[in-house]
């Protein structure tokens, strides 16, 4: 049975008492209500201890009621959905919620690591740098495991996230961050003017501080005004309000990042619903109404459970009807803190005392004190007596020097408010110091953005409304909308008088950064050791580097640094603000781009046919390509591939080569254009002919290769490698548009428009005659090697036929419109059956190209020149082309370059592996005598042994030399013979036959 909600008020608040929810914390059953956060539900159940601190394992309670929370971090959910470092203050309660505290072992109440406190001297600022420097081996053996065990921030699930994450775009005129009075006023003004508005609210309920602090707007109680305003906004079709959505980043050109927690408030996402959605919002204007964060005062024992921000305490009482304490003391240095006293008294709670650091308290508050029967002590809190069960007694240093003690079970603290300057500072903006509120306020903002209300340092309700409204109206006007905003809502401004107070000297640890356990003395130590710059301070002490990014600690930290270094706070300055404003799951950035959908998948035109054939596929970039077609009884891939190669070399086979990049080059200057991008000449190519071409980068290194055919006087058809298809298109467009705009030429990518098959083997013509219209002359005279032209197929379809060969066999490539690719594959199988046609995959393709000594990706490595590849003779000396001049540089024409050569193992039975290094025979392998490496290998069924290609120093001069192959990765050493890279039919008689 869940324990009773002992600390729940009997009425009031925004929780739904008709909807009780059961939950477990550290295994213990509790109950709360719909509308609770995990934090408010724990408070309603009297739970004060919720975690242990990172370094010292000190007992910690709930400090805030929002996303700035540094203490109350839990592991939420279980199993694959377990999420560490979840803020109990923003986690919505749902029925069945399970959470566990962090940084404790074996239990939260009895944590053995809290002995760290005894060793506190070694955990001071910079302890990582000082303590663990020597001896080095101690790091791995002792320090690191110990630190990891002791100082974790929760455990990740350790298994794949079962949920989906979405990414979406949105566009609007006016983006508003925050639904407090300023944000709602901005939405009213912009919405009434007809602007397209998106308002993002981090909370699950709209209203911001109105929900906790109330007030009177336009003569109405805040709740009534809120409900009326939300009704008005809901009726505006162009105003879109999203809750549970945090604006976390500001990017160039008015692009914003927001994370929507779509299903985080549910046990698990409903079917077909995502867990979270990452929004990229493009907004012409942005109104930041993100409010302000109340800041702690640093004093000894300020991390005792039961010490809470004053605003959070009244939020728990007013909004959640949950009482963090029965007898509350307030420690404040400003007028706003007193609101907590008013709220607590209104809820029937007892006030033990108010400790006000200011010399004067307003008459209204004096009379409140006398009516409430509690003392007002002028001074500051110098210590807290209490432990894991919370605050018991508070030590007070009174102005004038005497001391006092206050008995209380809760201490509300208000050190003033820091405007949330993150969003306005994400473009390296530095906020400026305002003496009026002793806080940093935005100093300008990225283009199109403006901060209003508390986010701009104006805390009064009236100012929030008027500034928000004015900003909304201006944003609508600036984006071309009418000026029909109407009249701004009106409210009074509360007084805000503050006497700066950052740190109260005293005995015991006084925490600045609760999450990283950084104390005031750590900052003083950093200063003494010379780490005065705020950027050094941050890294040396780790102040502000935890998951809360120092939202409650940064300003206090640099105020203390300013004091000890004798500078002002603005002189001390702030660190650089960077997104994200709140932690965002990597899964949300990835969205659906994970596992099988990590990237798009491209299927060849014959893919479905190949699936039916039982093909094994390989990923080639985005493509799925048939790698081989296993047949029953074949024991491994090698057997299948060997069969396919033999079938091609002795009969006929075909392979889908549609993945090659294909570009149509049109125009009277097409030939001249190709002459400038290839090292060889294409303007001289006869119509109906194909030619192999090689293109360089401007630095003289080989970029890509492929065959180009001239289909008409002003029409060339160019192919690229599969890998470079997109890049070559981009490169050619650059050449056309930027380098040679005077040429009359157009480029069209037709890679996806044509299905292309290589048909190879001595029986190729026999097969083609079954496919091609009998009127077409396919004889050696009628269609010679390197011929290329359009032909009619049986049935009338036009195809492009190219007599080119990658395999070294008599071969053609045939192109048909992509939608006929599937039919073509099936047709080739049918028509080829009498000739024993064999489909072959990329492995057999690769074997035949190695046998033939053709270069491919491994040799086009981005380091090789045309001459390295044995193609130096192709480099025209009669024309300019991309890369020509740089290719002539001394180092690129040096005689000792590594060039392509064939290799054969001396032991004919030996398997070769690519990647092995080539070392002169008889030498000990080392970087000094590394002469190259093996680029491509295959088992050659034709030669019945493994063969390969390698890049070897002066390789072509060393044919016949025995060298050593050294493969440290696989631990293999063997001798190979350097040989002619063309292993098969070196005269080329077969492909010409």
């Amino acid at each position: 049975m869940a324990s009773a909600q002992t600390h729940r008020l009997s009425n009031g608040g925004l929780v739904d008492r008709s909807a009780p929810l059961n939950f477990r914390f550290d295994g213990k059953a509790f109950s709360g209500f719909q509308g609770d956060t995990l934090a408010s539900a724990l408070i309603a159940n009297g739970v004060k201890l919720v975690g242990r601190s990172f370094k010292y394992h000190r007992p910690r309670g709930i400090l805030t009621s929002g996303s700035e929370e540094p203490n109350a971090l839990v592991e939420l959910r279980t199993g694959a959905r377990r999420e560490p470092n979840t803020k109990a203050t923003t986690a919505e309660l749902y029925d069945g919620l399970e959470a566990a505290s962090q940084n404790r072992w074996p239990s939260l109440r009895h944590d053995v690591m809290s002995v760290n406190q005894l060793f506190a001297p070694i955990f001071v600022a910079g302890f990582y740098y000082k303590t663990f420097m020597w001896p080095a081996k101690f790091w791995e053996a002792i320090y690191e495991p110990a630190i990891r065990r002791a100082a974790g921030l929760g455990r990740a699930a350790g298994v794949a996230d079962p949920d989906h994450y979405d990414k979406a775009w949105a566009h609007c005129d006016v983006l508003i961050a925050g639904s407090g009075p300023a944000g709602l006023a901005a939405a009213l003004a912009a919405g009434r003017s007809g602007a397209r508005v998106i308002l993002c609210e981090e909370d699950f309920t709209l209203g911001g501080r109105l929900l906790s602090d109330g007030g009177t707007i336009d003569g109405l109680p805040a709740a009534a005004w809120l409900s009326k305003t939300l009704d008005e906004l809901a009726a505006m079709p162009d105003v879109r309000i999203t809750t549970r959505t945090t604006l976390f980043g500001v990017y160039d050109g008015g692009t914003y990042g927001a994370i929507e927690r779509v299903s985080d408030h549910l046990p698990s996402p409903p079917e077909h619903q995502v867990r979270q959605r990452l929004w990229r919002i493009v907004a012409k204007r942005c109104v930041v109404a993100a409010g302000a964060i109340e800041r702690p005062i640093v004093f000894a024992g300020n991390d005792t459970p039961g010490v809470m921000m004053a605003s959070a305490m009244r939020t728990y009482v007013a909004r959640y009807a949950a009482t963090p304490a029965k007898r509350i003391a307030l420690f404040t240095n400003n007028e706003d803190g007193w609101r907590t006293v008013e709220t607590a008294l209104g809820a029937g709670l007892q006030i033990a005392a108010v400790i006000d650091a200011r010399p004067e308290v307003s008459p209204a508050h004096r009379s409140l004190a006398s009516k409430g029967g509690f003392p007002v002590l002028h001074g500051s809190v110098s210590g807290v007596d209490g432990g894991k069960d919370g605050v018991r007694k508070i030590a007070v240093s009174l102005t004038g020097g005497s001391r006092a003690e206050v008995e209380a079970d809760g201490l509300a603290v208000s050190g003033g408010w820091n405007p949330a300057v993150g969003l306005t500072s994400f473009h390296r903006g530095r906020p400026k110091w305002s003496d009026d509120i002793s806080a940093f306020v935005p100093d300008g903002a990225p283009p199109g953005m403006v901060a209003v209300g508390a986010a701009n340092g104006d805390f009064g309700l009236g100012a929030c409304l008027s500034q928000g409204f004015a900003a909304g109206a201006t944003a609508a006007h600036d984006t071309g909308h009418n000026d029909k905003a109407g009249i701004a809502p009106v409210a009074d401004d509360e007084a805000f008088s503050l006497a700066p107070l950052w740190h109260v000297a005293g005995k015991g640890k006084a925490f600045v950064d609760y999450q990283h356990d950084v104390t005031a003395s750590d900052i003083e130590l950093a200063q003494r050791e010379g780490f005065e710059s705020v950027e050094h301070l941050k890294r040396y002490t780790t102040l502000g580097m935890a998951t809360d990014q120092g939202k409650t600690s940064n300003v206090a930290g640099l105020a203390i640094m300013a004091a000890v270094s004798g500078r002002s706070i603005p002189e001390t300055g702030t660190t650089i603000y960077r997104p994200p404003y709140v932690p965002v799951a990597i899964g949300a950035f990835a969205g659906h781009h994970r596992d099988e959908t990590f990237h798009a998948t491209r299927l060849t035109p014959s893919h479905h046919w190949a699936v039916e054939q039982g093909a094994i596929f390989v990923d080639t970039g985005l493509w799925k390509r048939a790698q081989w077609y296993p047949r029953a009884g074949e024991k491994d891939w090698l057997e299948s591939v060997t069969r396919e190669v033999k079938a091609v070399r002795s009969g006929v086979g075909f392979c889908d080569v549609s993945t090659l990049g294909k570009i149509d080059v049109h125009g009277p200057d097409a030939g001249a254009f190709l002459d400038r991008v290839y090292i060889n000449t294409f303007s001289s190519l006869a119509v109906d002919k194909a030619r192999y071409g090689l293109m360089l980068r401007e630095d003289g290194i080989v970029y890509d290769d492929g065959t180009t055919s001239r289909l008409a006087e002003d029409h060339y058809f160019l192919t690229t490698t599969t890998a470079k298809a997109g890049l070559v298109m981009q490169h050619l467009e650059f050449c056309r548009q930027v380098l040679f705009p005077e040429l009359d030429v157009q480029l069209t990518s037709v890679s996806d428009q044509w299905a292309q098959f290589s048909i190879a083997g001595p029986k190729t013509r026999d097969l083609l005659r079954e496919i091609v219209d009998p009127a077409e002359d396919l004889s050696n005279e009628g269609f010679p090697f390197m011929g290329a032209r359009e032909v009619a197929l049986r049935g009338g379809l036009k195809a492009r036929l190219f007599r080119i060969s990658f395999s070294g066999e008599m071969a053609f490539e045939i192109s048909v419109p992509a939608r006929f690719g599937d039919a073509m594959a099936r047709n080739l199988m049918l028509a080829g059956a009498p000739f024993g046609v064999t489909p072959y995959g990329t492995e057999a393709l690769g074997v035949m190209r190695v046998e033939k000594g053709h270069i491919a990706g491994p040799e086009l490595s981005g380091t090789t020149t045309a001459a390295d590849l044995g193609l130096g003779k192709m480099m025209s000396t009669k024309k300019d082309y991309i890369g020509r001049v740089m290719a002539g540089r001394e180092a690129l024409v040096a005689p000792d370059r590594q060039v392509v050569v064939g290799i054969k193992p001396v032991d004919k039975a030996r398997r070769l592996r690519s990647g092995a290094h080539i070392i002169p025979k008889g030498q000990t392998p080392g970087p000094g005598n590394d002469q190259g490496y093996v680029t491509s290998v295959c088992f050659s069924p034709t030669l019945d042994q493994w063969i390969g290609l390698a890049l070897v120093e002066r390789g072509r001069e060393r044919i016949g030399e025995i060298v050593h192959a050294h493969d440290p990765l696989r631990g293999e050493d063997y001798d190979v013979e350097l040989c002619n890279p063309v292993f098969y039919d070196p005269d080329g008689g077969r492909q010409r036959g």
Binding site: D669, G726, Q737, P741, Q746, K879, D880, V885
Partner: protein, 91 residues
């Protein structure tokens, strides 16, 4: 970041590919090795106004000359490369 393509309108960064400085001009045929070397390798590291080449590969495939401030990322102008679009220069 967003770029206003003269052909397609305002589009997001993901549609574009960055190449680099648009200032160097490819030397004419017959230029010396030193001139070409400078063209290929030498770039100013500008803090401030630059012009750079971007490719609208996710859209119209135009090469664009984008005037951008490297300190503020503000884009002040976008023009198509001389040969972008259908017509040849001078035709």
């Amino acid at each position: 970041m967003r770029i206003v393509c003269p052909f397609c309108g305002e589009r997001e960064l993901g549609e574009f590919t960055y190449l680099g400085d648009a200032k160097p001009v490819r030397p004419v045929a017959g230029a010396s090795e030193d001139e070409v070397f400078d063209y290929v390798y030498l770039r100013d590291n500008v803090a401030g106004a630059t012009s750079e080449y971007w490719y609208h590969g996710g859209g119209c495939r135009a090469w664009l000359k984008v005037s951008r401030n490297t300190l503020t990322h503000e884009i002040s102008a976008v023009e198509p490369a001389a040969g972008a679009g259908a017509a040849k220069v001078g035709a």
